[in-house]
């Protein structure tokens, strides 16, 4: 059996997993996969997090990709990172850089077992801040400078590919080189708040083609988390990586309240396998949940099975299909043969999100001065000014 086949049928433990420590975030990125913003009061406690790390150690999970929300805003964040590495569970964490001070950078540079990913979605402040919010570019660049000054080699710069930044690949590479970092690019998913912005942000067909060509030419030195396997359908060059959907088979997501989902892009009841607070802990969710068991059985490719690209792309990304209202056994919305576009034309409804921790109001810079005077004295009604 090939490795890909072995992985399709699932492993006794994930190779790695994504662990979102908190839904709290100082930013409100318009494509946030987890619709983060506000902390969930049911968040796992420090003690529960440590027990989960113990379980990962017993299962020999090599490393966890810690994210959020912004994980570093948890007061016990560094305590948990230290606990994981002391227990032979490596840590890669994603951050917008807000807490990466010179002191923190020096500390991070001293450990083999901790890796850092700084999120940056534009090679210029203009492109980045449009998606991630005002000031976020400067915050990320400052964090990179601190890491480079501390001698942290090969930290990651993590970029979600959008219509506005796909033309900046060369500039991203230059930023990575400047700070001694490695570039990591991933696919935009229509998940979380990304569902609302996907139409505006996802790369055009021509951009996808250019991205594929760039990956084939430069991919060996660029990380992708295997996230562009739907592009394998072009089939003209070898895309680095296994190009396999590992959801529920070799990877999964644990969210801040301990819910276990098939993958980080699939925060929805449909892909919820169980909760680590249940009797059997994470281990029994991973090994016995109905959802994961069914994902590890042969999947139907539906209409895609008759396509000559099917062996390469395997029908694309489950989450991308689900959140754009497409059937799971049909084409990916960004199918390189254009079948997704056709299918999308027939979509009449898309699933509603199960969760939303977005800030109730988008954070706005404090403005000093006069508020717009009310139209009339009784104009404080929220519906005032509303016109039919």
């Amino acid at each position: 059996m090939s490795l890909v086949d072995e992985f399709q049928y699932g492993l006794d433990a994930p190779i790695c997993l994504t662990w979102e420590l908190t839904y709290a975030c100082n930013l409100s990125c318009v494509h946030c996969l987890s619709s983060s913003g506000r902390r969930d009061p049911r968040e796992l406690s420090t003690v529960e997090c440590k027990a989960l790390i113990d379980e990962f150690e017993r299962m020999q999970v090599f490393y966890v990709n810690i994210g959020g929300g912004e994980p570093t805003v948890r007061p016990d964040f560094w305590e948990l990172v230290d606990y994981a590495t002391e227990h032979h569970v490596g840590v890669k964490f994603s951050t917008n850089g807000v807490k990466i001070t010179p002191e923190v950078a020096r500390r991070l540079a001293g450990s083999d077992y901790v890796d850092v990913q700084i999120s940056l979605d534009g090679a210029t402040a203009e492109v980045n801040d449009h998606v991630r919010g005002p000031g976020s570019y400067d915050t990320a660049i400052r964090a990179m400078r601190h890491l480079a000054d501390a001698g942290f080699e090969n930290f990651k710069i993590s970029v979600v590919m959008t219509r506005h930044n796909v033309g900046q690949l060369g500039e991203f590479k230059a930023i990575a080189d400047r700070y001694g970092a490695q570039l990591r690019i991933t696919r935009l998913r229509p998940s979380g708040r990304g569902a609302d912005t996907w139409d505006e942000l996802h790369p055009t067909a021509a951009q996808q083609r250019a991205l594929y060509d760039w990956l084939v030419a430069h991919g060996e030195n660029v990380l992708t988390g295997d996230s562009f396997f739907h592009l394998a359908g072009y089939g003209e060059g070898d895309l680095p990586g296994l190009n396999l959907c590992g959801a529920g088979r070799v990877v999964c997501l644990v969210d801040p309240v301990g819910d276990v989902y098939a993958c980080p892009f699939a925060i929805h009841d449909t892909f919820l396998a169980g909760n680590v607070r249940g009797g059997g802990g994470f281990t029994s969710v991973w090994r016995e949940s109905e959802l994961f068991t069914s994902l590890r059985s042969p999947q139907s490719g539906g209409a895609c099975e008759s396509c000559s690209a099917f062996d390469a792309c395997r029908g694309g990304c489950m989450a991308a299909k689900f959140f754009t209202g497409l059937p799971l056994d049909g084409p990916d919305p960004e199918c390189v043969r254009g079948h997704g576009e056709l299918a999308l034309a027939g979509v009449t409804s898309v699933p509603k999100p199960s969760l939303d921790h977005s800030h109730r109001r988008r954070p706005v810079p404090v403005t000093i001065g006069m508020r717009r005077p009310p139209d009339r004295a009784c104009d404080e009604n929220p519906l005032a000014g509303f016109r039919r």
């Binding site: 072995e6 492993l11 433990a13 090599f62 490393y63 077992y113």
Partner: protein, 97 residues
């Protein structure tokens, strides 16, 4: 064997060991290897290769580790190629005798 292409040349008569920063997880197909320093994952696509890799540190040379694991002369080139790939990705390293 291993997923990476094997560069030519591996000293079967040299003494080798697993890098300290590598964690091995046995699997039904062989094993997964993860290097915490390079942060790279590798696969051992046979249980015999796992036995070879685990035996490296105790045997005087890689050739003996292969023989002890039951690798026949005909299979040796394949195992040599797999070990070469592991050395190239720094999963295993030479040790002083």
């Amino acid at each position: 064997m291993s997923t990476e292409d094997s560069p030519a040349g591996f000293d079967l008569d040299g003494a080798w060991r697993l890098d300290d920063r590598v964690s091995i997880r046995p699997e039904r197909f062989g094993a997964l290897l993860y290097h915490f320093g390079t942060r790279r994952l590798s696969f051992l696509k046979s249980p015999t290769l796992l036995t070879v890799v685990r035996g490296l540190a105790e045997q005087p040379d890689a050739r003996t580790a292969c023989a002890e694991a039951g690798v026949g002369a005909g299979e040796l080139p394949r195992y040599r190629a797999a070990l070469a790939a592991l050395a190239a990705s720094r999963m295993i390293e030479p040790r002083s005798r």
